[in-house]
Amino acid sequence: MTTTTHTAVKSDTNLISIAFAAFMGLSILFIAGFASSATLHNTAHDMRHAIGFACH
């Protein structure tokens, strides 16, 4: 019984960690890849063109 509970709890924290990592990735991509502030645009210009993300 105890073992099952432990496994379930561990699996839950694992899923939360995975969700956190996915969210980190999404945030970085959204800010770096798709947000369109002028400063960001100038920094990112060449790489954005290189990976084919819409730029301007």
Binding site: A32, G52, A54
Partner: protein, 224 residues
């Protein structure tokens, strides 16, 4: 678990980002600089072809290249977070993550984030004509999401229904079609644009396969 996810993503993303930045600076930036000369009118496409080309060399700007390295590392760390999250989730569901399988994970990411969007909207050079930015971004994001779901359904599906649905989802963005401008005719010569699009796909393939392999490698190291 969390520590391993974060470290794997940082190491794998940084390593792949540096590889991509190097390839970009040597293979793609010179073409961007050349296109900018056409964009600004210093070179003119379709001028008298027999006339000698003015001898203009775009200068290599190391601040600009430094920013490219920084940005490549950032965006690939972003990709890496999603990659290790997907690998960790698959592992929870009983899929074994080997370094060799990392090649396939990398190819899947490449398909979703670069190849499928490029089928509708090829990598652009400055001075090319394109539809409105927001419309293109919506189509790109939609295509990325649909391709991830479609590939996952085909790879992890257990029967014909899963595989069929996966293939349909993969096709949807291309049936809808990417937003294109009313008329064409940018300032960049088509020869340059075509080569840029092809090189961009090649650099992306190298970057994504490296990312997949290294994500799997660091993830396994951390699991020990």
């Amino acid at each position: 678990m969390l520590k391993n996810l974060v470290y794997s993503a940082l190491f794998a993303g940084l390593a792949a980002g540096i590889i991509v930045a190097a390839l970009t600076i040597f293979m793609l930036v010179p073409m961007l600089l050349e296109a900018e000369l056409y964009e600004s009118g210093m070179l003119i496409h379709l001028s008298d072809a027999t006339a000698a080309m003015p001898d203009i060399e775009a200068e290599n700007d190391w601040t600009r290249n430094g920013l490219t390295v920084l940005y490549a590392a950032t965006i690939y760390i972003g990709f890496a977070f999603m990659m290790v999250a997907a690998m960790a989730f698959a592992q929870e569901k009983g899929v074994q993550i080997t370094t060799r399988a990392g090649i396939l994970w990398g190819l899947a990411g490449y398909g979703a984030f670069q190849l499928a969007p490029a089928m509708g909207l090829a990598a652009e050079l400055p001075g090319m004509i394109a539809a409105e930015l927001v419309q293109r971004q919506i189509w790109q994001i939609g295509t990325i999401v649909a391709t991830i779901v479609g590939i996952a359904a085909v790879v992890f599906g257990k029967n014909w229904m899963h595989w069929g649905i996966g293939l349909v989802i993969l096709a949807i963005p291309h049936v809808i079609g990417a937003p294109h401008p009313e008329g064409l005719g940018g300032t960049v010569p088509p020869e340059l644009a075509a080569q840029f699009a092809a090189r961009s796909l090649a650099v992306g393939a190298v970057g994504w396969i490296s990312l997949g392999v290294m994500s799997a490698y660091f993830w396994r190291q951390g699991n020990r």
